[in-house]
Symmetry: C2
Subunit: 181 residues, 2 copies
C-alpha cells in the first residue's frame, strides 16, 4: 500500500469522478499545479502501480477510435484517500530563486535588489491574473474555491510586499542614505 506523493493527487482527483490519466494531468495543470505539480511520466506509471495495488481500477473506454483508459477509485482506494486526508500535512517546501537573489544582492552594487523585487512582483501579479481567470470561468466546488482564494490572496500579498520594498529602496536612494553593511 505504498503511495507516492503524486499518487495522492491521483486518488484525490479520482475521488471526485472517474477519469483518464490525460484528464488528471489537465485538471492538475488547471488547479493544483501552483502548489502540487505532476507530469505524465509520474502519472502514467503511478496509475499502473495504484491499479496493481487495488486502490484504483482501470477500464478501457475508447472515445471513437481513440483508445482511452478510465480509472475509478475502489473502496480500498477511497479508504486510503480518507486516511491520508485525516493525517497531518507534513510537506511544505518552497524554492524561490528571487528570494535567493535578493538574499545575496549585497555582492553587486545597486541594481540586483530592485530588479529582482520587480521581477518577483511581476511574477506574483501574473499568477494572480491567471488565478482570477480561472475564478471567472466558473467558481469551483467548496474547498477548491477556498484554495483558489488562498492563491489569489497570497500572491497579492507577496506582490504588494515587493512593491512596498521597491518603494522603500527608491526612497532611501533618493535621500542619499547608505545602509550600514
Amino acid at each position: 500500500m505504498e503511495v507516492t506523493p503524486t499518487g495522492y493527487v491521483i486518488l484525490g482527483m479520482l475521488g471526485w469522478r472517474s477519469m483518464s490519466g490525460y484528464e488528471i494531468k489537465s485538471l492538475v495543470d488547471y488547479s493544483t499545479r501552483f502548489f502540487w505539480a505532476a507530469s505524465y511520466s509520474q502519472i502514467y506509471p503511478e496509475l499502473r502501480r495504484l491499479a496493481d495495488e487495488g486502490l484504483i481500477a482501470g477500464e478501457a473506454k475508447p472515445q471513437g477510435g481513440r483508445k482511452r483508459n478510465e480509472y475509478r477509485l475502489t473502496p480500498v482506494g477511497r479508504k486510503a484517500l480518507r486516511s491520508w486526508l485525516e493525517r497531518e500535512p507534513e510537506v511544505f517546501e518552497l524554492r524561490d530563486e528571487g528570494l535567493l537573489k535578493l538574499f545575496f544582492a549585497g555582492v553587486t552594487d545597486g541594481q540586483t535588489a530592485p530588479a529582482t523585487l520587480e521581477a518577483k512582483q511581476a511574477h506574483h501579479e501574473e499568477v494572480v491574473q491567471r488565478l482570477r481567470e480561472i475564478e471567472a470561468t466558473g467558481t469551483p466546488e467548496g474547498f477548491a474555491y477556498m484554495v483558489l482564494r488562498y492563491g489569489i490572496d497570497c500572491n497579492e500579498f507577496m506582490a504588494a510586499w515587493c512593491q512596498r520594498e521597491r518603494h522603500a529602496l527608491a526612497k532611501a536612494k533618493a535621500t542619499g542614505k547608505r545602509k550600514a553593511a
Copy 2:
C-alpha cells in the same frame, strides 16, 4: 561553466567570505533553508565541481589537528555569481501538502478542512517563531534582513488567513449552513 541550482547558494555564501563546506551548510540551515535548502551530499560534490571549473578555489586550513578545507571565490566565480544575480529569477516552486488536503477536503465529511487549516496555521506560526528567534540573535546585513522580514510577514499572513477561514467555517457550521456542492 555549468552550475547546478545548489551551486549558486555556494557561490553566494562564498561571495560574503571564505568558508568550509560545513560552514556553508550551517549558514544555509540558519538562513536560506526556508526558501532554498541544501544538504551535505549536494554541497561537497558541488564544491569539487566548482573548484574543477575554477569558480572557487579550495585550500587546506586545518583547525588544530582537525582537517578543514576552506573555499574562496575566484574572480571567475565572482563574475558567474554577478551574472546569475543579474538574470531574472525563474524558479518558483511550492509544495504545500496542507493546501492539497484542503483542496480535496470535500470527499470526507467535516473534519478534514478545519483540522488541516489548524495544522497549516500552526506550521506557519512555528516558522514565524523560529524566524523571530533568528531576528533576535542579531540583525543580519541589509538584504538578508529584508528576506528575513519577508519570511516573517508571509508566514504571519498565511497563519492569519488560516485562522480567518477556520472562524468562517465554524460560523457557517453553527448557523447550520451547508455549502451548495
